[in-house]
């Protein structure tokens, strides 16, 4: 069914003839039109300039639009293997400015941190060894004096308290 079929068919034969003539004329005009030529004459830029894009965007509810997107389905359709295989990793690596990266990285701080950790561990180990020696001496003194050291709880240092 064409749009023309929507028009009410005239009951009058004269009107029907006029209708057929008009349709024929329209067909002739449309057939004679060069649509490409017509489109080339249209100033699309002028039309776009007259459109208030900001107004259109303001009316759009982007949150609703984005919420309706099924990102999982989109990602699932991506062929990541094909994408990765097309990457030229060597070329990418060549583009990386390693010297600049090294300059930006605070190597001094990294080295200081790591060496500081080693020193800290060493000092802790020395402290543990001396504390262990303390215990050995206490143990021997207790044996010599034939006494039992009571299981005293650790004292808490309440820093900042009076």
């Amino acid at each position: 069914m064409t749009p023309r079929d929507h028009y009410r068919r005239p009951a009058n034969p004269a009107e029907a003839l006029a209708q057929q003539l008009a349709e024929r004329a329209v067909d002739l005009v449309v057939g004679a039109l060069d649509v490409n030529e017509l489109a080339s004459r249209v100033d699309v830029n002028a039309i776009i300039d007259r459109i208030d894009v900001n107004s259109v965007l303001r009316k759009l509810d982007l949150n609703t639009l984005v919420g309706q997107l099924d990102l999982n389905a989109l990602v699932g359709q991506l062929d990541l293997n094909a994408l990765v295989s097309q990457l030229d990793v060597n070329e990418l690596a060549q583009r990386i400015d390693v010297a600049s990266l090294v300059e930006k990285a605070d190597l001094g701080a990294i080295i200081a941190e790591s060496s500081g950790g080693v020193v800290r561990e060493t000092v802790d180990a020395v402290r543990c060894q001396t504390a262990r020696l303390d215990q050995v001496i206490d143990h021997w003194v207790d044996l010599l004096l034939r006494r039992k050291r009571p299981a005293s709880p650790a004292l808490l240092t309440a820093r900042g308290e009076p």
Binding site: E121, D134, Q135, I137, R149, S152, A154, L155, T157, G160
Partner: protein, 176 residues
């Protein structure tokens, strides 16, 4: 492993070895600082007067100044943080008998009493080895004790570990 063992010592009375080694370190540090000070004074005097100034280390004045400097070094260190450089190295701290932080007044009393522990063949230090709480004479006079305090929790400034229900878990083996 070391961290776990470190935690087991925290808050317990420090023994003779830790205290002796820290004292030796403190003597080296304070004597070095004293020598540097003397050298700086000599240099300054030489610049100002133009004459060479030297110190007779065996003179009573220099020995007296050194003794005074030692008291200042230990007193200020205990009063400021409860520990000297050597004590910080070996992870021990002076606290009050109940475990709370040492206040300056008590640090001053401890400093004044400190020399008396060295009288009569260091008789006042015997308590560190023989006493149950490893207290020297100056600890008894000032009402202080020396405890272990270092480790991950003490280092990052967070509260110390909770009280442990007894002596350190790494007790020496029998007959060790």
């Amino acid at each position: 492993m070391t961290a776990q063992r470190s935690l087991s010592y925290q808050g317990h009375y420090a023994g003779a070895v830790s205290r002796l080694l820290s004292f030796v370190i403190d003597l080296v540090v304070s004597a070095g600082a004293f020598s540097l000070g003397l050298a700086a004074i000599s240099y300054g005097a030489q610049v100002i007067t133009g004459n060479l100034v030297s110190w007779n280390r065996s003179s009573g004045v220099v020995i007296g100044i050194f003794a005074l400097w030692e008291l200042v070094y230990f007193g200020c260190s205990w009063g400021a943080s409860g520990r000297t450089a050597g004590m910080a190295l070996f992870g021990i701290r002076v606290v009050r008998g109940d475990g709370t932080a040492l206040e300056p007044r008590r640090a001053a009393i401890r400093t004044i009493a400190f020399p008396f522990s060295f009288l009569f063949c260091c008789l006042g230090l015997f308590g560190i080895v023989l006493g149950r709480e490893n207290r020297a004479l100056h600890d008894v006079i000032a009402g202080t004790v020396v405890i272990y305090e270092w480790g991950p929790r003490a280092r990052d400034g967070s509260p110390n570990p909770p009280a442990l229900p007894g002596p350190p878990s790494t007790a020496p083996e029998a007959g060790a």
